[in-house]
């Protein structure tokens, strides 16, 4: 049978050595009343070719081409070189590197990933990845409470942060903290007056998007000051990490914790998962920050090597006292991002970000000229919201395109808002087709 190497004679010899008469007898400790005694009612086996035909048929039901839609799952070019390196079995069929001598590949790549995260965020330390941007945001909020020694129990969150991220933060808050939301203004940025009013001595952390859900770039420096003035931790959350290629880093603006989603580098959309959560912070929070981390050390001969370290914070040692219950992280996604960032380099990253910015600007200008005015006045990177006709999605679909998120789904008050994303995957012809569909 496929993937099962045993011949009938293998099985008989093995049973004999074990001292039982049948495979069933191996399960003698399972009470008879619990035995299934019938075949599972799952679909029948397909041979490899039939399986491929079946899966291709499913995949081909999906629309073709890159959607004009990000919202935390940003369509980007994944170089074939990245994808082909990820197909190396030594990378994707390895386990978490608990035996460092035979996992130096994974460990060094993790170390390089941490380095990239610190460079992009302008902060000092980073972990080896988290599930996605939303769980990273929730973990940041938990860490803020932890840093206060549990004395502060409130987390202030901008309503312009990704709605799903806010959902997840709320889900995680069960016991630890309260979530207070702050509105946004006509520029699409967090309302600074409301924010100032919401932050008090019980506030553990302040959490805003950068760029936020509307693609608008927040004034992180001012937000960090407001938070820190009350002794709270300032947290920025970035759902489109490519923006770091062009924007000033959170760290440079005084932010304490930068989290978010890094799927944009080397990872496909995959219907929204797996993502690649990143988590960076200041060195002083080294013993408080969640997740797995790789560090450099030496072997007995003085040769450099890498290990998982600071594991006294983790659940398999601390059990119920751990900083988080995370065990498996998103290592292969981090590997993809590390490979892609290595190939881009500083220069390539900037060039790619600029290309995104310029294409999005072209689309914004042409849409405005066609009557689809910007919803917000604040500065944007590669995502932006416009006022669109109510049949916008139908028109886009009819044109053989996809994407655009009606903001009413998450913000009833923004009923005519349509969130769009334009990246290097959208060439001029495709952008023009979008505009023609909506004009």
């Amino acid at each position: 049978m496929r993937y099962l190497p045993h011949t009938e004679s293998d099985i008989q010899e093995m049973l004999q050595k074990i001292g039982v008469k049948s495979l069933d007898e191996l399960f003698s400790t399972v009470p008879a009343s619990l035995r299934l005694n019938r075949a599972l009612a799952v679909e029948p086996s397909l041979d490899e070719r039939a399986l491929m035909d079946h899966l291709e048929a499913l995949a081909s039901k999906q629309p073709k081409g890159a959607p004009f839609l990000g919202a935390g799952a940003n369509p980007h070019h994944v170089p074939p070189s990245v994808d082909q390196l990820l197909l190396r079995g030594e990378l994707y069929t390895a386990y978490t590197p608990y035996q460092p001598e035979i996992a130096q590949g994974t460990l060094q790549i993790t170390f390089e990933f941490q380095t990239f995260v610190t460079l992009l965020t302008g902060l000092e330390i980073a972990n080896a990845s988290m599930y996605d941007g939303a769980s990273a945001a929730a973990e940041a909020a938990l860490m803020a409470v932890r840093i206060s020694g549990g004395k502060r129990t409130k987390v202030v969150v901008s309503k312009a942060l990704h709605p799903e991220y806010r959902d997840v933060v709320r889900t995680y808050h069960t016991e630890g903290f309260d979530v207070v939301e702050v509105p946004f203004g006509a520029d699409g940025r967090t309302d600074m007056a409301a924010l100032e009013a919401a932050i008090d001595e019980n506030t553990a952390g302040v959490l805003v998007g950068y760029p936020n859900f509307f693609g608008v770039v927040e004034d992180l420096g001012a937000i960090a000051k407001l938070a820190q003035a009350k002794g709270a931790i300032a947290i920025s959350c970035t759902t489109e990490a490519l923006a770091f290629g062009l924007l000033q880093s959170p760290g440079a603006q005084g932010i304490d914790v930068a989290v978010g989603e890094m799927q944009s580098f080397g990872n496909g959309l995959n219907f929204g998962g797996p993502g690649l959560g990143f988590f960076a912070t200041r060195e002083k929070f080294l013993r408080q920050f969640p997740g797995r981390v790789a560090g450099a050390t030496v072997d007995k001969t003085g040769k450099r090597g890498f290990v998982l370290t600071l594991s006294t914070r983790e659940q398999h040692i601390r059990r119920e006292k751990a900083t988080s219950n995370i065990c498996t992280n998103h290592g292969l996604n981090a590997t993809a991002a590390t490979i892609h960032l290595s190939m881009l380099g500083r220069h390539g990253l900037k060039a790619l970000a600029l290309l995104n910015y310029r294409r999005a600007r072209y689309a914004r200008e042409q849409l405005a000229a066609a009557g689809l005015k910007p919803l917000f006045s604040g500065p944007v990177f590669n995502e932006f919201a416009v006022r669109a006709p109510s049949d916008a999605i139908a028109r886009i679909t009819k044109a053989g395109l996809s994407g655009g998120l009606p903001l009413g789904r998450y913000y009833p008050e923004l009923g005519d808002g349509l969130l769009l994303c334009v990246t290097e995957l959208h060439d001029k012809a495709r952008i023009d087709a979008l505009i023609a569909a909506l004009a």
Binding site: R2, L55, A59
Partner: protein
């Protein structure tokens, strides 16, 4: 870096890794089975890899249909009513499951209750997840056969207990033969039973948690259903529940109406969202492909042969290696280092020696209740010959430990580095490259 530099760098790094594709990986509790290559092909189909999670229902039919079919299969395999595919990994699946239990208690009893009972053989994530929700973890002792006694549960069970978390077969590889009675005891006091699905690879088509009385369980698709471990994820931890708990599952769930599939967000009792979007679809599709590859007979055969393989190793080395608990175990076996005590060679030394023999070490020092534990799980995809070679290595190490313990303690010698100084790494953390980076040579 140009493409050639990056390719060489990462090809070289990859070659420093041990992996399923390079050798036998009997890491107990992690189920390092072969990852079929057709699944990687499928994951790269543009329709799947490029599917955006927020497109309209009619532009998501291919991916939703796949998720629906997977959900149905997982519910059937668990013997439970419904499954949420949303959790990103086992630990998040656990958290989701406990949240569901918590929400049910709130709804039914007006209180989340306070305690969670956890056997001493449990995974570390169990108490961590319970703690994250504010529960007090209460440890239950296993008996001398390595199984949980109904009396132990009965003694600890009261109306402050939200649930019992158990793994079956447990982390000793032993089937909890009293599971039905234990579930009854917990249910009688209004509690729920959480099943950790980490060891489902022993039971596919053999027995179903739902039939045992378990109310909630999570799967690890990266264990039982062959999605690759990726050097540390991504995993996927779907959570399956009995009918009375279905309204509390994370939102949304995938439903089928006529010939149309859609995400149903209309779940007022839901515990909410644990993560963005709808789960690790990239892993769902691999798990679905795997289930379709094997079909009902293949899944059943996989569990039977996984158990056969584990028992065959046990039979081959039983004279040299002490098994922690005597009774019949299933898909994995936990050994102790008792027979090496006088040599000074420890379980960690054995692990490192196995590296030089060309194997990934078993899980070591887990479960915590077994001193010097070595937990061997071969999985069903290994050949008889591989198992025999591994058994020979285990015997050779036992023999050498007696004759040349120092040689064992100097292992491994074959990898690119020798044993690493973990204390230094933790005391003087160096967590990124920097201009002055100068750890070692």
């Amino acid at each position: 870096m140009t493409e050639v530099q990056a390719v060489r760098h990462f090809v070289r790094l990859s070659q420093l890794n041990y992996s399923v594709d390079t050798g036998f990986f009997p890491l107990g509790s992690c189920t390092m089975k072969f990852n079929p290559k057709v699944n990687e092909w499928a994951a790269r189909l543009p329709g799947f890899a490029g599917a955006h999670p927020l497109l309209p229902t009619e532009q998501s039919q291919g991916v939703l249909e796949l998720m629906y079919r997977l959900e149905r299969s997982l519910s059937e395999i668990a013997g439970l009513h419904a499954t949420s595919l949303e959790p990103a990994a086992g630990a998040q699946g656990e958290l989701a499951g406990l949240m569901v239990i918590r929400a049910w208690h709130m709804d039914k009893h007006g209180t989340p209750r306070k305690k969670v009972l956890i056997p001493d053989s449990a995974h570390g994530t169990n108490p961590a997840s319970a703690a994250l929700l504010g529960y007090q973890a209460v440890e239950l002792k296993s008996n001398s056969k390595g199984v949980l006694e109904p009396a132990t549960v009965a003694a600890a069970m009261d109306e402050d207990v939200a649930c019992l978390m158990m793994t079956n077969p447990n982390t000793l590889g032993i089937f909890e033969e009293h599971v039905e009675e234990i579930c009854r005891i917990v249910h009688e006091k209004g509690g729920q039973v959480y099943g950790d699905g980490a060891n489902m690879n022993a039971l596919l088509g053999v027995a179903r948690p739902g039939d045992m009385g378990i109310d909630v369980m999570h799967y690890n698709l990266h264990k039982t259903f062959s999605t690759p471990h990726g050097g540390g994820g991504p995993g996927s931890g779907p959570v399956a529940v009995a009918e009375h708990l279905a309204p509390y599952l994370p939102r949304p769930i995938v439903v089928k109406e006529g010939d149309t599939y859609r995400l149903d967000f209309d779940q007022p009792m839901s515990v909410g969202k644990l993560r963005t979007f709808w789960g690790n679809f990239g892993m769902h599709l691999r798990a679905y492909a795997y289930i379709r590859e094997l079909g009902p007979e293949g899944l059943h055969a996989a569990s039977r042969l996984a158990v056969l393989n584990a028992q065959y190793i046990r039979a081959l080395i039983e004279d040299e290696w002490d098994v922690a608990y005597e009774g019949r175990s299933l898909h994995e076996v936990v050994y102790t280092d008792k027979k090496l005590k006088e040599t000074g060679v420890t379980t960690m030394d054995v692990a490192k020696a196995l590296i030089d023999h060309g194997y990934h070490p078993p899980t070591v020092y887990f479960p915590l209740i077994v001193p010097g534990a070595l937990m061997v799980e071969p999985t069903e995809t290994e050949t008889k010959e591989t198992l025999e070679n591994f058994a020979a290595a285990m015997k050779a190490i036992a023999a050498q430990a007696r004759e040349e313990p120092a040689a064992i303690k100097a292992m491994p010698q074959k990898p690119v580095v020798e044993r690493l100084d973990e204390t230094r790494a933790a005391r003087k953390p160096v967590l990124r490259w920097s201009p002055g980076f100068d750890v070692g040579a």
